[in-house]
Amino acid sequence: MATMLILGAASDIARATALAFACEGWDLIVAGRKEEILQKIAADISLRSGRTVKTAHFDALKPEEHAVFWRDIEEETSALFCAIGFLGEQERAQHDFGHAETILRTNFTGLTPILSLAANTFERRGRGLIIAVSSVAGDRGRASNYLYGSAKAGLTAFLSGLRNRLATKGVTVITVKPGFVATAMTAGMNLPTRLTATPQQVAADIVKAVKKKRNVVYSRWFWRSIMMIIGHIPECMFKRLKL
């Protein structure tokens, strides 16, 4: 059976999505930085789904390691799901440029090497699946999180280009844009209940997007309309809004 690589597997969205794919019959490699939590997640998913789940060490901030990392798992891997994301602290990033760079690298530039490596392999094979979690925050920059948002905007554009390049090569590229999700990243924030999804709902949306071969999927679905409206507010008004 086919194997999917899960990057950033310790996040709540990744864990739920990995389980959903395992229940669809995928074997998994769960990769990330913290070996201990990866072991726990691998055991849990394997028990719940009956599939084989391995762990691997991966760090988006060490792009020089990506080629070796990919070489070791390239042969068995036929799909990649990337859920790496780091919100950071917007205010701190306005003065602490090291922090700003960590946000940009974790959410965007640190991901391009591994995404490119997978894309090149899949292109050569003439088949493959790449799914990456971007964010509605990348659709329009806002005062409260524009460093995170601009990194996600970069990722969204990168994926869009990748999709364009690989569309005729048998490789599917899916961009996932979650809105509010109740996860460790948003713990302590006061999110509106009706607009907030669970990681399980996002996971179900992603599995459905693969089945329907969608290109860009908002989760929950109503975020497409919300972002459409936000995207159309004239800049002269938008700049005065508190969002």
């Binding site: 055991a43 849990d44 028990l47 719940r48």
Partner: protein
């Protein structure tokens, strides 16, 4: 934040925290002054409520290991019974005991020491727990089972979170031939007939009855008896035989908002009951149905508690010793019927023998248990007070998991003498009374 449990009564202002792993949970426990643990919030009343801090186990949700030989699953206290079913029914395993909802956490199932339709053969949930890891103020993390720290184990089972916080659980699953139940249904015209059915079908592993509490006089105790056992593969409808452990998933419905309180009244409930009873075939009928529809009919309707409206409801569940049931049940049913406050969901069940341990305050005892829902109204509490004394006169007691209004005196009379040992152990494990619920205060278990 506002927090309430399944009965939506009471609703209080408090803080709810969900530590992400065991280490963080222990760190939080160590510095909490007063708190109570909580899982999925399916207890009906105030046993999982504390005004200062409610500590959720829901992120302790990792399955750690499963032994194919013994069927022992080790998992975090926040793993739900639904998740266990999803993972293990397809592989031919089932819960050793299940309550009427699968949306219960492992920790909650132990704190309530839940029972199911198989109590007469399997007793309560904790009897199938190989061991558990608990955190208490006096001991820190402690491993307990039937043989190790047995006193703490027995007080924690059915102890409603008052001995400490459950971190991890080892549960013994059981093998099943399929995910379907061979169901036998019998219509009973009155109480005598239904009690007779419970005796006659005692060999079946699952037995329960739905009872119409608005019937008085000749029809008092009119009910539908449901018995069942797991079906063998060759008894299944042909289309399921190839995959006997994968019954069709039920279609989920949802109640989108709180119903206005006039929707449920004496007449609408009477009409529902008449329809329900009238629809069942006369005499004995047999069928093969999925485990979902047999064990969890209400789980298919999410938020069914909303039909009772904003004011909420309480479920009143008591048990009478078998010796006094034949005399006591008709009296109590008559009082309910006369009050006109009965509900849709009245469930009758004959419990079997419940093992007795020092300091164990699990609810069941050998005898009949009746559970009914009442919407909260001004007239309700005087009626329930009257029923309380009738239950006590028969030597019975009440289920704390459903309770939000009983008095400390009623509780004490129902649960002594085991209660004294429980309180002594509580004092030893938690001398500063840090584990406190609204219920434990009301029942004067804590100050």
């Amino acid at each position: 934040m506002k927090l309430t449990s399944w009965g939506k009564y009471p609703r209080i202002e408090t803080a709810l925290e969900s530590p992400a792993d065991t280490a963080r949970a222990v760190a939080r426990l160590e510095k909490a002054e007063t708190l109570i643990g909580r899982g999925l919030g399916r207890s009906y009343g105030d046993s999982a409520l504390n005004n200062k801090l409610v500590l959720s186990s829901l992120r302790l949700d990792f399955m750690e290991s499963f032994d194919e030989e013994t069927g022992v699953l080790v998992a975090g206290a926040g793993v739900s019974l639904a998740e266990i079913l999803d993972a293990f029914v397809p592989r031919g395993w089932f819960l050793p005991v299940t309550p009427g909802t699968k949306f219960v956490s492992l920790g909650g199932a132990i704190a309530s020491d839940v029972h199911g339709k198989d109590h007469h053969v399997a007793a309560t949930f904790s009897r199938h727990v190989a061991w558990l890891d608990l955190w208490t103020p006096a001991t820190g993390p402690i491993h307990c089972s039937d043989t190790e720290n047995a006193d703490i184990f027995h007080a924690t089972a059915g102890g409603h979170g008052l001995t400490g916080f459950i971190l991890k659980v080892a549960l013994k699953l059981k093998k099943i031939p399929s995910g379907f139940i061979r169901q036998e249904m019998v219509k009973a015209d009155n109480l005598e007939a239904i009690m007779d059915s419970f005796e006659r079908y005692a060999a079946l592993p699952f037995t329960v009855a739905w009872i119409d509490c608005l019937q008085a006089g000749k029809g008092l105790g009119r009910s539908i008896f449901m018995g069942g056992s797991f079906a063998e593969k060759d008894e299944l409808p042909a289309r399921y035989r190839a995959r006997p452990h994968q019954p069709p998933a039920p279609r989920a419905l949802a109640v989108p908002f709180d119903f206005p309180s006039f929707v449920l009244n004496n007449w609408s409930v009477r009409a529902f009951n008449a329809l329900y009873y009238g629809r069942a075939p006369k005499g004995l009928s047999k069928s093969v149905i999925s485990y979902h529809s047999f064990f969890y009919p209400l789980d298919a309707i999410h938020n069914w508690n909303r039909i009772y409206g904003r004011r909420g409801f309480t479920q009143y569940q008591f048990v009478l010793p078998k010796e006094t049931s034949a005399d006591g049940l008709p009296k109590i049913l008559k009082a309910i019927a006369e009050s006109g406050q009965g509900s849709f969901l009245a469930v009758l069940k004959l419990f079997g023998e419940q093992p007795v341990f020092d300091g164990n305050i699990s609810f069941p005892m050998r005898g009949y248990t009746l559970a009914l829902d009442f919407p909260i109204t001004r007239k309700l509490f005087p009626l329930l007070d009257r029923l309380d004394s009738m239950v006590l006169e028969c030597g019975g007691r009440h289920y704390l998991t459903k309770d939000s209004r009983m008095s400390g005196e009623v509780f004490k009379r129902g649960y002594s003498p085991a209660l004294d040992d429980f309180l002594a152990l509580k004092k030893r494990l938690d001398p500063e009374e840090r584990f406190v619920s609204l219920q434990s205060r009301r029942l004067r278990i804590t100050g």
